[in-house]
Symmetry: C2
Subunit: 111 residues, 2 copies
Amino acid sequence: MKAQALHGHLDALLLAVLERGALHGYAIIEALRARSEGQLDLPTGTVYPALRRLERAGHVASAWSTVNGRERRTYELTDTGRRALADQRSGWREFSATVGRFLDPGPAPAG
Amino acid sequence: MKAQALHGHLDALLLAVLERGALHGYAIIEALRARSEGQLDLPTGTVYPALRRLERAGHVASAWSTVNGRERRTYELTDTGRRALADQRSGWREFSATVGRFLDPGPAPAG
DNA sequence: CTTCATAGGTAGGAAAGCTACCTGTCAGGG
DNA sequence: CCCTGACAGGTAGCTTTCCTACCTATGAAG
């Protein structure tokens, strides 16, 4: 699946995976891939800048932690981020309902 | 609702409204607004260029028709466009299912 | 002629994501 | 020590898409 279509929803996805616990960037990419059953395979060039955007916006906080002798920047949801996620969720429902009205025929899957 | 979030899905929406019959640009905007119950109120600066893109891609064909003594450019779905729409529909299902996996908790709407 | 509603159109700008590239650590093989 | 490969983080420049703002034009009302 093309991630280009994510436009505007990527941030929400990122917040959603962080909702289950702090992760470092690379692990976020893997979580996205795992939870989407391989549908979302985002390049680092997409995710890292997005995380920085989220941090600038105050939605996530990052901290360097040394794991296995290696520096990993771990991202964690802030309170603001949690609120933003809730917001994005309702935004997503509205959006998918609206677009679905046009693209999901709905009651006619038989054929 | 912000149409910015449409990114990449606008074309599909336009094809979807044209599926029900040929319309001119302005009428397409009104159809979008009507069928979305006011959620989608796209500016002409968004729709007209999009229609031209679709025409270049061969998904729609346009023809000038004189109605009420006025020239109106009427857009119609082509066969290619119909196929593209079907394609976009399945793309949309995949997309909404994938993003929904993260943003729709799903089985917990009671609350 | 001016104003309003309808209708079509363009230019320039901003945002988001992608491709391609670069840096650096740790482990294994030579 | 050097090289390679898997992991991890990061940046620059490009393209696409959509939006804001503006312009043109018709027909009716005054």
